[in-house]
Symmetry: C2
Subunit: 561 residues, 2 copies
Amino acid sequence: MTQPPAPAADFSTAHADTLQRALTAITERSYWSQYPESPSPRVYGESAAADGQAAYEALRGARFALDGQPADGTWVATERSPFGVDLGVEYPHAGADALVAAARAGMTAWRDAGPRARVGVCLEILDRIHRHVFTLANAVQFTTGQAFVMAFQAGGAHALDRALEAVAYSYAEMTRHAATADWDKPAGKGATLSMTKTFHVVPRGVALVVGCRTFPTWNSYPGLFASLATGNPVLVKPHPGAVLPLALTVRYAREVLAEAGFDPNLVQLAAEAPGEGLATTLATRPEVRIVDFTGSSEYGDWLEEHARQAAVYTEKAGLNTVVVDSTDDFAGMCRNIAFSLTLYSGQMCTTSQNLLIPAAGIETEAGHRSFDEVAGGIAGAVAKLTADDARAVELTGAIGDERVLDRIDAARKVGAVVLDSRTLTHPAYPDAVVRSPLLVRLGAGDAEVYGSEWFGPITFLVAVDSTDAAIDVFRRTVGERGGLTAGVYSTSEAVLAAVEEAALEVGVHLSANLTGGVFVNQSAAFSDFHGSGANPAANAALTDGAYVASRFRIVQSRRHR
Amino acid sequence: MTQPPAPAADFSTAHADTLQRALTAITERSYWSQYPESPSPRVYGESAAADGQAAYEALRGARFALDGQPADGTWVATERSPFGVDLGVEYPHAGADALVAAARAGMTAWRDAGPRARVGVCLEILDRIHRHVFTLANAVQFTTGQAFVMAFQAGGAHALDRALEAVAYSYAEMTRHAATADWDKPAGKGATLSMTKTFHVVPRGVALVVGCRTFPTWNSYPGLFASLATGNPVLVKPHPGAVLPLALTVRYAREVLAEAGFDPNLVQLAAEAPGEGLATTLATRPEVRIVDFTGSSEYGDWLEEHARQAAVYTEKAGLNTVVVDSTDDFAGMCRNIAFSLTLYSGQMCTTSQNLLIPAAGIETEAGHRSFDEVAGGIAGAVAKLTADDARAVELTGAIGDERVLDRIDAARKVGAVVLDSRTLTHPAYPDAVVRSPLLVRLGAGDAEVYGSEWFGPITFLVAVDSTDAAIDVFRRTVGERGGLTAGVYSTSEAVLAAVEEAALEVGVHLSANLTGGVFVNQSAAFSDFHGSGANPAANAALTDGAYVASRFRIVQSRRHR
């Protein structure tokens, strides 16, 4: 007699309460978070930070094994840290054929496990990642260039919250109707037609997640976990510059899948060699039926155009815009804007690029402020935040993409520099590439400049004729090029309403009068939607019903009872 | 002082109970129907049938006015009844520019009305149509060629049920989270960050519905009402051969919209002149952001490829297949299959085309039946159903598309005719074009024949080596070409399970052992899904969450409290 296999872990029961709370959260959309965002020892324990850092250090300069994943015997190492430190991690490489074949092997069992079991596994993966969140935060920091606290929050806790949100939507969508139904139709003369119907949730096929350099986890997790929860095997193709955060994610996912009795190859790392173009190869494979992508508009548009066999979800570039009309807290406005421009030196897809300010100035609680005074107020607040290099780098982090540096140089020449970008020295990492924000004044006629995206710490203060003219520019530029966030400052309800109407027309999320601890470039899981799918910056929102509903299909069978 | 406008009708309160019942139905998916399917005078009253017929007769030979809709002054009349009677109805014509501009005019007010009001209007439209369901049934009968009872049911009551189902899904999707939320995030030291957030439902843009000849209402209503309920103006482009049912629909919709205080041009008829290609013009307009289509795979694929600015929902052609393995009710099986083949002379997108039968025959409750006995049993049942012309035409209806007649001729030559198609004479309409089903025997090697769709009363009895071989053919042909329905007859749970597994793989809905009053080609609203989106026959299901979720977007605004 052969030994029966060890009983697989039941993770759905263990995480039932979390799922229930998350399901409530996605309907209420008020404040809730599952994963504490504070890296404080009071929350995570005295040794958590040091343990996580040590675990991260142990990964450096070594091969990152993913046992059981297909491998062609070559190893790839493509990361260069924006902090100027050496990562030297090598990842196993495999070709598209091997990855796709391995992904499909476990698909039927994963499908047949059903929504509850799959969601249980996903929640255990999130829990497992969370247990190693300091390790992950270090990996995010040193690949993306984010400062540690941001890497911990955006790359760790918030990314996990977004993943949980996507899993909750997936569960709700898969279970919005009965899994089986008795159907009894009166057929006249007391007779009844009686059938039993089964509504199977079937996956689309292999899912591909194409990660970005700046937010490898936050931007990849919703698609990754929505696809996995709905029954699809997932190939995770990281940006060559930010592999480690997703490699860790894949490792924990595979661990949990195996413990639950499923094929770990349901989640695989698709690390690529330099110039290999593995995303393009995979995205156009007939077996690949879902693609999630964050990155450039150019490649996002290419995917939408060419990966026709797949449902393609893209988050691309846009023109995030703030209309400045008036304020009753001038200093608060300047500080708030300055903080949002400085955070991660403008390398968020949600950072404002265009500040539209009336050339004649604005009204404030302390009287009229000219355009130059408004510009000076914002510039002064940025200068204050970045005055001390050692403190500044904890906000700005570092810059990994050399094209950002070229763009700063180019932006200096397109208008009048209001605040120049400085080179900052990181006290701990002397080779870190750090720049403070650049503020440039433009005229309303410079649409060829502010009408394109200048990704990085580059902000245009555009002098417009009036607030009405600002709204026109807003409507035109965001309508044509898209945007993920918009802001408005005004003491007039009529202006707030007019900007809100324009925001609805061009489909961009709007924040009004932020002067405190909430910033236009931040969105909270379970409450704020990220992206809308209603303008060219993204063809979907993370996360809503539409984001998950097409990741699976219902196939029914029926027979008489 | 000017007179205040008359208060607009509040239809949401009037239909609140219906909505609630429908919302329950789409989660339970057991039997429920809002619109009685029996045209009996006991249900609809003694005069309903005569009144409806008279109303239909009054429309013939006249101009069908749609007051307030843009018109270029020309009128189009493109219908030719399969029953050989003259309709002679002329419809107002307008160009794409005028239609699109008029559609957009009322969009903002419709958006701002919100989900509850919009859904109320949609339910009142359905009620209004239902009050004229006999008129509609006559219009469906004489344009599509369906026999009266089928036109009443599929074209009237069932179409309305499907519309209500789509409206319920739309409402559920738009309201699955709070419309506004208070967000209070602990900010340390007893402080709280407090915001109010508003989640606006915004439409995608102008929606286009491209109708088909055979099911102008049933196949158009889900998309039409899902788009309208979610805030999109709708252009209804009927098939030139079946305009009247949708013209009536548009008329009632416009009536209700106006009564509710909205722009009636939110629903417009886009009747086209012969050869105009209006669907193509409209589908590729930048303002058109949703397209719903039912019809040929060729044009459906074209739309998916070219209407890239829009969300495109298509239902196309496929290979509906039945695996015959064994039965414990041979006569019931033959009768059931025969009825489904005869109904509307096979002109349903759900009619079986390929019956896969082991060449060595099958086991039945009365012992072994050879292939020829099985074929003979089915052929005999069809012959019996169609023996009497006067009775037969109430099942078969008439054929409107001459290509179907050519196809019957061609099909006679591709294999051995088991039962020839007969020309039937309609007692009431001598010019009606009526044909009984053609049954042709093929071998498993004739894949180039049965691997393509032969729309119309054409069925292939394919002799396969075994049930396993049948499942292989099923998996291959439906996987490659798609299918909307599949059937299996077997007394073996193992065979039923194997066919079900194959059906899940190729994403087709399966009916097992139908021998009574349920037929493979019929699907019940609120219970059965129609199409799956999981194979080439359709890229979406009517109706589920995925069918409605992308017809609108959430755009949020937030500010501090």
